[in-house]
């Protein structure tokens, strides 16, 4: 099966590969896997006080489509608010990369990774806020 040009481009020059400190309170980490193909994707965001994603990094073990999907996802969510980022849909990723039907699950994985990173960040922030407020 042939990969689309955009997939190959992201695969050969992945954007934002790397790791952020997952202990950092401003960092949210999403870790998702696709049992059907054994792919694993880690996507991390650094969020500023205004709720804007300042940085995003990913590390994906999987096929070209999975790598391209996560690379594109980090590119898209950088500079967006977490609420905007949460609206990124797998169908948009699949369309941008011209993913064939058998590779749609790669874009689903990327959407799940974004959501899981945002959730992790929100959970951390809620814990921090309740800590700062102190005991009632």
């Amino acid at each position: 099966m042939a990969y689309s040009e955009k997939v190959i481009e992201h695969y050969e020059n992945p954007r934002n590969v790397g790791v952020l400190d997952k202990e950092d309170p401003s960092v949210g980490t999403g870790l998702v896997g696709a049992p059907a193909c054994g792919d694993v994707m880690r996507l991390q965001i650094r969020v500023n006080d205004a709720g804007v994603i300042e940085d995003a990094k990913f590390k994906t073990f999987g096929c070209g489509s999975a790598i391209a999907s996560s690379s594109l996802a980090t590119e898209w969510i950088k500079g967006k608010s977490i609420d905007e980022a949460a609206t990124v849909k797998n169908s948009q990723i699949a369309e941008e990369l011209n993913l064939p039907p058998v590779k749609i699950h790669c874009s689903v994985l990327a959407e799940d990774a974004i959501k899981s990173a945002i959730e992790d960040y929100k959970k951390k922030r809620a814990a921090r806020l309740s800590l700062e407020k102190g005991p009632e």
């Binding site: 870790l31 049992p35 193909c37 054994g38």
Partner: protein, 181 residues
């Protein structure tokens, strides 16, 4: 899907003797060989051919532990829909990510011994998952299984997911080993 255990005339079990499976397949393939039907009518030849294809498909299904487990589930009217498996536990995914990272480091360093060690430890974990699956699927084995309660199979789909991750890791190990040869 037709029942591969029935097609090969084998007792439905997760822990299959692969040698016996291959032997049974050979035996049936010989009996269904086109040469034996050369003198027969067209309908008879066609039937033997389609049986031979069924037998080959059944072998492929039963050789793969994931598909074998699915076949056991399907016999009991249970199915795990593709792509609807539960999400693996974060700690497990972290392990997989780390194993793959170590594997790619060892591969880049052309450290064959380290790749082999990783392969062995992944294979050991895969066997643990296979044991757990055999235990989880035991209620579905045998020719006349009583309908099982859904609770009895809890954990099977999660273990099947883990098995796939390990299979994937092991094929990565083999690919790296081939490169280092």
């Amino acid at each position: 899907m037709s029942d591969p255990f029935e097609i090969l005339g084998l007792e439905p079990r997760f822990k299959l003797d692969l040698g016996a499976l291959e032997a049974r397949h050979r035996e049936l393939s010989r009996a269904l060989h086109p040469d034996r039907y050369a003198g027969g009518g067209a309908a008879e030849r066609r039937q033997a051919l389609s049986r031979a294809i069924e037998v080959n498909d059944a072998l492929r299904v039963l050789k793969d532990p994931v598909r074998r487990a699915q076949a056991l589930l399907a016999r009991s009217g249970l199915s795990l829909e593709e792509g609807r498996e539960p999400q693996a536990a974060p700690a497990f995914l972290m392990d997989v990510l780390e194993l793959r990272e170590e594997l790619s480091v060892a591969g880049r360093a052309k450290d064959g011994a380290a790749v082999r060690r990783l392969g062995e430890s992944i294979a050991a974990r895969e066997s643990q998952v296979l044991e757990a699956l055999a235990l989880g699927l035991a209620p579905l084995e045998g020719r006349d299984t009583a309908p099982t309660e859904p609770g009895a199979l809890r954990g099977v789909s999660e273990k099947l997911g883990e098995l796939r991750f390990f299979q994937r890791l092991l094929s990565e190990v083999r690919a790296i080993e081939d490169e280092l040869l």
